[in-house]
């Protein structure tokens, strides 16, 4: 177990990214019982827009520190993803609000494919390298290595999640969002414009997704038009693992999944006597999904209080 700490660090980094994306799935599910399968594409587009912006700035010989270039790229990508999330809900889901639940689900999958194809038209089918603008430093702790970028990812993820929890649990808007999730008809009677609340839910989740997309692209030095599919599915798994609809569950599910996957990738070769290598690491996310659905479909934190005493 010599690299245990290293695997835990790597797991924590990717787990933070899963958690941010899983929050987008779980918020939308909580309010409209819909799995927004296009959410992974919003993550991808966040990453792609950031890379394009940075490359444009570099092409124009803008001499700014890397961190500033990244911030500008992110500041462009977040509104794009938010607008996309808003548009998706308005165009694809709202007309199906009263349709059988299978209809919006199929629409979600269709949208996901449409967005993937659009992305290949804009950005091509090849991997896009993340511009080498960041001054990566490594630190050693107990034999393991962590970069300043990884530390930044974890810290930023924590800050964003803390802000989100404050918004949902403490603000008047958050109260209205929770009320809408619990009883949309009565929320309307209280004067809540529930269409606005649903739009906001998509917009906030999309902003988180864009940040997560940039994190994963920066961490792995690349992005790809199809990257949203796998990372979206894994984040969805994280949301189910934590208990879909439950915000804290999405965070716990994301972190647990990231760590399980990282440990799995690290020890898979040893465990199978070299038959399976770490490139099979995706097995773990989906094994987790199957196990959760079999044995605890409500997820780790999915227990709810009785609706009526």
């Amino acid at each position: 177990m010599d690299h245990l700490l290293q695997h835990l660090i790597n797991g924590l980094v990717i787990g933070s990214v899963y958690a941010l994306i899983a929050l987008g799935y779980t918020m939308v599910y909580g309010i409209m019982q819909l799995i927004n399968f296009a959410h992974g594409e919003i993550v991808m587009i966040g990453a792609m827009v950031t890379i394009t912006c940075i490359n444009l700035l570099l092409g124009a010989n803008v001499a700014l520190p890397g961190i500033l270039l990244l911030t500008i790229g992110l500041a462009m990508a977040i509104p794009v993803s938010m607008a996309l999330g808003y548009g998706i809900e308005r165009v694809a889901y709202r007309p199906l609000r009263n349709a059988p639940r299978l209809a919006p689900l199929i629409t979600a999958i269709g949208l996901s494919i449409v967005l993937q194809q659009l992305a290949t038209l804009i950005w091509g089918r090849n991997y896009r390298p993340f511009p080498a603008i960041l001054d990566i430093k490594t630190f050693e702790i107990g034999g393991a290595v962590i970069t300043n970028l990884q530390i930044a990812i974890i810290v930023l993820a924590i800050l964003i999640m803390a802000a989100l929890f404050f918004l949902i649990e403490r603000s008047k808007l958050g109260r209205a969002m929770r009320a809408t999730a619990q009883n949309i008809d009565v929320a309307r009677l209280m004067g809540v414009n529930t269409n606005t609340i649903i739009s906001l839910t998509f917009v906030i989740g999309s902003a988180l997704g864009a940040v997560a997309g940039v994190m994963v692209a920066a961490n792995y030095d690349q992005a790809h038009a199809y990257m949203g599919f796998l990372i979206g599915l894994k984040a969805f798994t994280a949301a189910v693992l934590g208990g879909i609809g439950n915000l804290a569950g999405a965070v716990v599910g994301g972190l647990v999944l990231g760590i399980v996957e990282s440990l799995g990738a690290g020890y898979l070769s040893d465990l199978t006597g070299g038959v399976l290598t770490s490139s099979y690491k995706d097995i773990f996310a989906f094994a987790v999904l199957i196990l959760v659905l079999l044995f605890r479909p409500s997820g780790l934190l999915g227990e709810r209080v009785a609706e009526r005493a």
Binding site: R178, R188, L189, M190, G191, V192
Partner: protein
């Protein structure tokens, strides 16, 4: 624009088609400022549909609804509370995973007057000391009677001009029903105008000033509550006598 002569709520020839059936087939209702009016009738008579239509949850097929001097028949459901029209829905409709306090705050969602909201909150807690004890508890963990208190307290936080109550006694033990009706009388005494739907017709008519009887989507009798209680046809059909 309410004057002493014009009614607070005036419904004319209201027709509602709901789920493919004509649930309400042309009814007329009038409620004046300060009245407590009961709407009684059998299950499926169209009472709940009528209330839902009054607050925009269901759109009318025909007819007019005027509240406080304005046509409200085409407003969205979220535009009613700020005009003073509030429904306590059938089955109470509390937010189970919000605390009691948060439920009450939702009643004041459309308001921004912090000091007045705090004042109203204190008043609701005076009215329902039980809720004050449980303010930090999730509403879904309360008993049925306490949940009904949350629902009524939440409606009072909206400062209603007209409070619509759909079956406030439903599913509650008789002693709790008495308690809820005591509260309804207290709220009425504070000057809140109310329209009450109730299966327990006797209790409703004993509490109300006036009553309407609804059968298969039409209003068949409208009279003073006392007269309805003394009416032999009503007695045999609805009062179990």
């Amino acid at each position: 624009m309410t004057t002493t002569t014009s009614p607070l709520l005036s419904v004319k020839d209201l027709k509602v088609a709901y789920g493919g059936i004509h649930a309400v087939k042309g009814i007329n209702l009038e409620i004046k400022q300060g009245e407590l009016v009961a709407l009684i009738g059998a299950n499926g008579a169209g009472k709940t549909t009528t209330l839902k239509t009054l607050v925009g949850m269901v759109k009318p097929a025909a007819g007019s609804i005027s509240f406080d001097g304005q046509d409200t028949s085409r407003l969205a459901a979220h535009d009613f509370v700020s005009r003073g029209l509030v429904l306590v829905p059938e089955g109470r409709g509390i937010f189970p995973r919000l605390t009691v306090e948060e439920n009450l705050q939702m009643g004041a969602y459309y308001r921004n007057d912090k000091a007045d909201i705090a004042h109203d909150m204190a008043r609701v807690y005076d009215l329902f000391p039980r809720l004050k004890e449980r303010m930090k508890q999730l509403a879904g963990t309360l008993s049925g009677g306490e949940q009904q208190m949350v629902a009524i307290g939440r409606a009072l936080m909206s400062r209603p001009k007209l409070l619509l109550l759909d079956e406030p006694s439903m599913g509650l033990a008789p002693i709790i029903v008495q308690k809820i009706f005591e509260i309804i009388r207290m709220v009425a005494a504070e000057g809140v105008t109310m329209l009450l739907i109730e299966q327990n017709a006797k209790l409703a008519l004993e509490t109300a000033n006036r009553g309407y009887v609804m059968e298969s989507g039409v209003i068949t009798v409208a009279d003073d509550a006392k007269a309805l209680l003394a009416n032999p046809a009503i007695q045999s059909a609805y009062l179990g006598e």
